[in-house]
C-alpha cells in the first residue's frame, strides 16, 4: 500500500498542483472582487460574530475581539474541510468514469484549497492582533508545528468523510450540522474559564478544543501549545490516517461502479 502511495505521489504531484490552482481560480472567477474575496471573506465572517456577541449581547470583555478571532479562524478551516470532503470523490463522477486518478488526489485538493484560504486568513488575523496591541513572542512560531499537527488530524477525517459521501449522500447535510455543533462545543465564542469546572475536562475530549486553546496560548498569552494533549491527538491521527488510507485503497476500483 505504501509503495503504491509513493508511486501515486510521484506521478500525480503536478496534477495535484494544477487541480488546486484551478479550483482556487475557478472559485473567484467572474466575481468583481476576485482574489480579494480571500481577504474580505474572513473579515466579514469575524465581523458578524463580533457584532452578535461583542456588541448586541455585550458579552466577552475587553479583549473579546482578539479572543474570538483566534478561535473562529482555525475552527472555520476545520469545518470547511470536513464539509467539503463529503463531496470530494462523489462530485468527480465525470472524471472518475473516464480516467483513473488516485482518489486521495481529490481529497488533497480540497484540503489544499481550504488550507490556502486558512493561511491567508491567519495572516490577516496576525495583522489584526498586531494592530490591536497584542504582544507576540517567539512562541507564536509554534503556529507552523500546530499547522502540521492540525493537517494530520484533518486529512484522515476528510478521507473517511469522502468515502462515506460516495455511498451516503446525507453525510453532507449531517456534516453541516455537526460543524455548527462543533462551533458551540469548542471554546470559540465562550471562554474556558466560564465553563463549570466539573464539565470543563470533557471539552478537551473534542480535539479541536485542544487546538484552539493552543492557538490562543501562542498568539495571545505568550505561552506554549498543549503539547501533551496534542501528542495524544497526533497518535490518534496517525491511526485514523492508516485506517483511512486502507479504506481508500480497498475501494479504489469500486467508486467508479457506484458513483
Amino acid at each position: 500500500m505504501f509503495k503504491k502511495l509513493l508511486n501515486d505521489w510521484r506521478n500525480n504531484k503536478d496534477l495535484l498542483y494544477h487541480l488546486t490552482i484551478s479550483e482556487l481560480k475557478s472559485n473567484t472567477a467572474r466575481t468583481y472582487l476576485g482574489t480579494l474575496w480571500w481577504i474580505v471573506d474572513p473579515i466579514l465572517y469575524m465581523a458578524i460574530y463580533y457584532f452578535l456577541v461583542g456588541i448586541v449581547l455585550d458579552r466577552g470583555g475587553d479583549d473579546y475581539a482578539v479572543y474570538l478571532f483566534t478561535g473562529l479562524i482555525p475552527l472555520k478551516w476545520a469545518t470547511a474541510c470536513m464539509v467539503d470532503a463529503t463531496t470530494a470523490i462523489s462530485s468527480k463522477a465525470r472524471i472518475l468514469q473516464q480516467v483513473y486518478v488516485p482518489k486521495l488526489t481529490f481529497i488533497l485538493v480540497r484540503l489544499g484549497v481550504n488550507t490556502f484560504k486558512f493561511l491567508v486568513s491567519s495572516f490577516i488575523m496576525v495583522l489584526f492582533l498586531y494592530f490591536s496591541g497584542v504582544e507576540m513572542t517567539v512562541n507564536a512560531l509554534n503556529f507552523f508545528i500546530l499547522l502540521v499537527l492540525n493537517l494530520l488530524l484533518l486529512l484522515p477525517i476528510m478521507i473517511i468523510m469522502a468515502h462515506i459521501g460516495v455511498y451516503l449522500k446525507d453525510i453532507k447535510n449531517m456534516m453541516q450540522y455537526i460543524s455548527r455543533t462543533l462551533l458551540y462545543l469548542s471554546p470559540v465564542l465562550f471562554r474556558m474559564e466560564r465553563v463549570p469546572e466539573d464539565i470543563r475536562g470533557y471539552l478537551y475530549l473534542n480535539p479541536f478544543t485542544d487546538f484552539l486553546v493552543s492557538y490562543r496560548n501562542i498568539f495571545l498569552y505568550k505561552g506554549q501549545p498543549l503539547w501533551d494533549n496534542l501528542f495524544i491527538i497526533l497518535g490518534l491521527s496517525l491511526v485514523l490516517l492508516f485506517i483511512g488510507l486502507r479504506i481508500l485503497n480497498k475501494y479504489d476500483k469500486q467508486y467508479a461502479k457506484v458513483i
Binding site: 479550483e23 480516467v99 451516503l168 476500483k253 467508479a256 457506484v258
Partner: protein
C-alpha cells in the same frame, strides 16, 4: 504473428443493484448484483485495430472502464503489457472558468501525462484544435464543437501507446471529423494499437482488422471484421422487424 498486448481471460464484472434506499442497501446482508460482463475472453494484438460492437446496454462502457483500469473484474484476469490504455475522453475534467490552455494542462495531466511532455506538445495541440485566439478564453465561452475539438486534440497529440476510442468521431463539423479520422488512421499507420468501441458498424468496417461482438454482457463472436459485421448487421435488422 503479432504479439498479444492485452489479454482478457474469463472476465466477469458485476455492479451492486441500485436501490431507492441507500441506507438499506448499505446495511442489508444479501447484496443483489447485476452482471454486466459475463465471461469475456479475448486478446488484443500489438498494432492491430480492434472493433468492439454491441447495442446500447450490452456492456461496452463497462468493458471500457475495465480496460482503462477504473474497475476491477470480480472474476478472471486482465493483463496489459506496458502502460494501461487511456480512454480518448472528451474533456471530462474541463473547468469552464479556465482558459483553453489551462484546460489542456489539466486534462493532459489527468490522462496521466508529465508536465514536460505537455510543454513540448502544447503548440501542436493548439494548432490541431484550430481554436486560434479562443485558446486564451475561458472554456465556458466555447461551443460544444469547440470543446470537443480541444479535448480530442489534447488526447491525440500526446500520442498514447494504446488508443481507446469511444464513439468520439461524432465531434465537431464534418471537416474536423475527417481530420480526427485521419489522425487516427495515421496512428494506425504508425503501428499503434487502437481499440474502437461503437454501436455502429460503418466505421468498424472501414478501419478495424478484427471485431469482438458483445451482447448483453456475453461475448457473441470474435473474428475477422467482415464476417462478424455481417452477422451483427443481420441481427440488428432482425431486431427492427
Amino acid at each position: 504473428m503479432k504479439k498479444d498486448i492485452i489479454e482478457l481471460k474469463d472476465i466477469w464484472v458485476s455492479y451492486p443493484e441500485h436501490s431507492d434506499n441507500p441506507l438499506k442497501q448499505l446495511l442489508s446482508k444479501d447484496k443483489k448484483q447485476f452482471w454486466a460482463l459475463k465471461g469475456l475472453d479475448f486478446t488484443v494484438k500489438k498494432g492491430e485495430v480492434l472493433g468492439i460492437i454491441g447495442r446500447n446496454g450490452s456492456g461496452k462502457s463497462t468493458l471500457l472502464k475495465l480496460m482503462s483500469g477504473l474497475i476491477e473484474p470480480d472474476q478472471g484476469s486482465y493483463q496489459v503489457e506496458g502502460k494501461r490504455p487511456m480512454l480518448l475522453s472528451l474533456g471530462a475534467g474541463f473547468q469552464p472558468e479556465l482558459s483553453g490552455i489551462e484546460n489542456i494542462y489539466l486534462n493532459a495531466l489527468l490522462l496521466g501525462n508529465r508536465k514536460k511532455k505537455i510543454d513540448e506538445n502544447l503548440e501542436a495541440i493548439i494548432e490541431f484544435s484550430e481554436l486560434d485566439d479562443f485558446i486564451y478564453k475561458p472554456v465556458r465561452t466555447y461551443s460544444s464543437g469547440m470543446r470537443a475539438r480541444l479535448a480530442f486534440s489534447t488526447a491525440i497529440m500526446l500520442d498514447p501507446e494504446i488508443l481507446l476510442i469511444d464513439e468520439v468521431l461524432g465531434v465537431g463539423d464534418s471537416a474536423f471529423q475527417k481530420k480526427c479520422k485521419d489522425a487516427i488512421l495515421e496512428k494506425i499507420q504508425q503501428d499503434r494499437t487502437v481499440i474502437l468501441v461503437t454501436h455502429s458498424s460503418s466505421l468498424v468496417k472501414q478501419i478495424c482488422d478484427r471485431v469482438v461482438w458483445i451482447h448483453r454482457g456475453e461475448q457473441k463472436a470474435v473474428g475477422e471484421t467482415k464476417g462478424i459485421v455481417e452477422q451483427y448487421d443481420e441481427f440488428m435488422k432482425a431486431k427492427k422487424k
